[in-house]
């Protein structure tokens, strides 16, 4: 590209499709006979985006294609209005990337390396040093920035990785498993930082993770990939009417209770499978009439209601709907 100074404000082409920052059409990536991504069609808006899927689902491959680092086998991908592969340089000028793997030079100070990465993104030397100091302060490494990285804890290294990803003030930042290897407090504080990047710094964040809880806590939009297939792409939560549920625990026979509900025309009632504890009945789309019916049936059958919990549709529900219960691996609940 020419030496022209880039547009400093938007820094991106006007995008279509409801201001989508990422758009893919029939995106496919094969490694030999293995299909890592299969005909992915996406249109992702600005915001905090969760890229969810089990290990090996194709998340990192998708990020590498969006960064212009890997060539799709077929289909196309646009990031901030630029073709991700043929205009990879323009894309990488405007996005940040925090890889999952260890990638920091041990024999450099945080200030030196992050400043160098800012220069590598096109910032003049003086501005790069200043930005490095500012951003390291923002990620909580103010005092430690002149120490060699090899003396840092895992959490501090993750912060340096995050700092280098945002030092050039990108419009969009890809974070690949930013909580990997962190203990619970470290994970908590990393998620807070990620949340700040989106809410305070105004950058669109794509958070790739296999942990439901991380995505649910930070993101307002989720893309679920499973075995290279796009399983779901939609906002998390939705309207209460759309996703609300009523969960009832009773100390009695759930089948009889559900039959009575069905008899009153409340068809969305079912028993939730539970390995232990009291039976649980879930009723979708609860209205005032449902609450009244539950009360009346409990009185009629003389069954104590132990708990009643109303909740909106969770990410877990979305995941189950998209991928199925068998894929809801135990590690997706964030065990560290």
């Amino acid at each position: 590209m020419s030496q022209a100074v880039l547009d400093q404000t938007a820094g991106a082409r006007a995008t279509t499709h409801e201001d989508a920052v990422i758009r893919t059409v029939d995106l496919t990536k094969r490694f030999g006979s293995f299909t890592a991504l299969n005909q992915i069609d996406l249109s992702i808006p600005r915001g905090a985006i969760g890229l969810l899927g089990p290990n090996g689902a194709g998340k990192t491959t998708l990020i590498r294609i969006l960064l212009g680092l890997a060539k799709p086998t077929s289909g196309s991908a646009e990031v901030l209005g630029f073709n991700a592969f043929s205009e990879g340089i323009q894309v990488r000028e405007r996005v940040g990337y925090m890889p999952e793997a260890e990638c920091l030079p041990s024999n450099a100070t945080a200030a030196d390396f992050v400043g160098h990465m800012a220069e590598m993104s096109g910032l003049p030397k003086t501005e790069a040093r200043q930005r490095a100091a500012d951003v390291l302060y923002q990620v909580g490494l103010d005092e430690e920035r002149y120490r060699l990285i090899k003396g840092f804890s895992t959490g501090m290294k993750q912060r340096v990785k995050l700092a280098q990803a945002i030092v050039h003030d990108p419009s969009l930042v890809f974070l690949d498993e930013p909580t990997a290897g962190l203990d619970p407090p470290g994970r908590d504080s990393m998620l807070e930082l990620v949340d700040r990047i989106y809410r305070m710094m105004g950058m669109t964040v794509v958070l790739s993770s296999h942990i439901l809880e991380d995505i649910e806590r930070v993101c307002d939009y989720v893309v679920i990939i499973d075995s290279g297939q796009l399983a779901l792409a939609q906002r998390i939560g939705g309207t209460p009417a759309e996703g609300a549920q009523l969960s009832i625990q009773i100390d009695g026979n759930p089948d009889q209770f559900i039959q009575r509900l069905h008899a009153l025309g409340i068809d969305d009632a079912r028993q939730r499978d539970r390995m232990t504890g009291l039976p649980e009945i879930v009723i979708r789309h609860p209205s005032d009439r449902v609450y009244d019916a539950v009360r009346d049936i409990a009185v009629e059958l003389d069954v104590p209601i132990v708990s009643m919990t109303g909740r909106t549709r969770s990410l877990e529900d979305l995941y189950l709907q998209a991928v199925g219960a068998s894929a809801l691996d135990a590690d997706m609940y964030g065990g560290v």
Partner: protein, 300 residues
Amino acid sequence: MADSSMTTQQTPRAFGEVYDRGYQHYTGPRLGRAHAFRALTGYSMKRALGAKKRWTAKVVPVILYVAVALLVIIPLGIQGFIDAAEILQYWDFFSVAWLILGVFVATVAPEMLCGDRREKTLILYFSRPITRLDYLMSKLLATGLLTLTITLVPLAFFWLGRQLLADSPVRAMQDNLDDLFKIVIVSVVVSAYLGALGLVVSAFTSRKAIAVGVIVVAFLFSSALAGVLQEVFGNPDQKAWFALISPARTITEFVLGIWGQVNSDGAFGNPLETWIYGAAMIVIMLICCAIMYWRYVPED
């Protein structure tokens, strides 16, 4: 009066207050790919010399720079006292300083590539606005420029010193400009050649120590191999071609040829045309670049 005292009370607090400015967006210029290329070249050169590393990382480069400085300063000093004593000639420099050059390249080239591979920093570089080819060219340029500091700089200093020792320095400079031109040509070709050889070895390992060892052994072994092969297989007309196996021998013959001199040891028979040595260095350099391209550039 009351207002005035209030002002004096408030002023120190106003100056001493620390404000959290929050996050500030960057609104300055973004200079793009060429700037990133320059930044990588400069940073690689500094890091290879041990800048912003522990003092132990600076020891070897400093010793080598001191050694090569002494190599040109001592002959100049002697010549300053004894006019006729031309201990070192331009064409002798590379054969005399060969060990220093070899160790320098063996020190610098692995620093350029091995660390980025071992610590997986490559992925961060490739997520910046450069291509994989830019990365390689930047490393090649950085190695070449650093090698020039130990070839061109001391030789140019030596040339300048010799002219200043003449009775009429300005006249001497004008008369010997062709020597300076030859120094530049020879230094650029030799630096690029040695740099490419060092880098191609470094491209195959992430361990610096292994790369250093392989480069040193390859430089030494290649000379021995060339000597043995020309003894065993070379007839008098073909002997000279075996010199191309050895970087040391190739450089020596090329430099001698540029200044119109002939190697006095005659071990490889009659030398080839000078351009053949130059062309051989350039071809080997291009082969090294192709190998590095094959190693780094293919996309997933």
